[in-house]
Symmetry: C2
Subunit: 152 residues, 2 copies
DNA sequence: AAACAATCGTTGACTTTTTCAATGATCCGT
DNA sequence: ACGGATCATTGAAAAAGTCAACGATTGTTT
């Protein structure tokens, strides 16, 4: 993997016009973020993916696995693995779909919500670390722009 | 992988507070972007990764493979594969490091720059597609914020 | 209502990507 | 000149991603 240093890099290459390529900027920020996030989530036996699933399970929106796959840009079979893992550890349950008996709704258990709260707190620290260079306003701006880019 | 639809999704789950998780927003935007980018780059036998390497090789910055690995958050062995591929196709060359004879400097060939120009144009179209929901100003803002988050 | 195609979750096979340890060559500090 | 560190490279192992098929169920068409 790349650099695991906690110190800030001062990359000579950042000058390249590649620094204007949104795709690369996203990839890089996502990569460094994932590293930090996964490290923080390891304390709870979670990774970015399983945390996302757990978050949706805790949201009260009662997502189906298909919705999870679509929303997280995953193959349905990957969702099966993620839910299997979380279910075996008692953090979520599969419930039968209400209108559609093929679908399974993923809901959190009390233990799942407990773990999720702790993990979420740890992630917030991570996020602040990663976005330390941004002011509070800029932080909010970034969120807003990302959301807008994703779904108008 | 997830949905390959060109139509805009209107995801029920976007409401979840997960929509404020920068990590997930980055992951999702990066995922959908990669899909588009790789599809566009396929015409030139490139992918996001190899395009990034080619871009740096064309930048005149004469990056070493180690610098590429750090900058792109890749394992050094992955850079070997990427450069191998580009070199076999005559798009880049390995040159000996100037101060450090261990290091190898990656520079583009004329053909590499030709392909890169074409690919870059194709990617710009992609980018506009992906960020269609953003105004010109917001587009620039997003770039600026991502860069600032990465290196102050 | 019977037949049909489509969708959901799941499984398993397969490919690609990532991760990691080891190696020879070279650099740097002492 | 010695020892430790860094560079590119290799190869193996682990993880992630892709894809086709299946039973169960749904919605649609006849």
């Amino acid at each position: 993997m790349g650099p695991q240093s906690t110190e800030v890099e001062t990359p000579r290459l950042a000058e390249a016009k590649i620094g204007n390529d949104v795709g690369l900027l996203l990839a890089k920020l996502h990569a460094t973020g994932s590293l930090l996030n996964n490290k923080a989530l390891a304390d709870y036996g979670l990774r970015e993916r399983s945390f996302s699933v757990l978050t949706l399970a805790c949201s009260g929106l009662e997502p189906t696995q298909r919705e999870l796959a679509d929303f997280l840009s995953l193959d349905p079979s990957q969702v099966v693995s993620l839910v299997d893992d979380l279910e075996h550890r008692g953090l979520v349950k599969r419930a039968q779909g209400k209108q559609d008996r093929r679908a399974k709704i993923i809901v959190s258990t009390a233990e799942g919500r407990r773990i999720h709260n702790k993990a979420r707190a740890a992630l917030e620290v991570c996020e602040q670390t990663q976005l330390a260079g941004l002011s509070e306003d800029e932080n909010a701006q970034l969120r807003a722009l990302l959301k807008k880019a994703l779904w108008g």
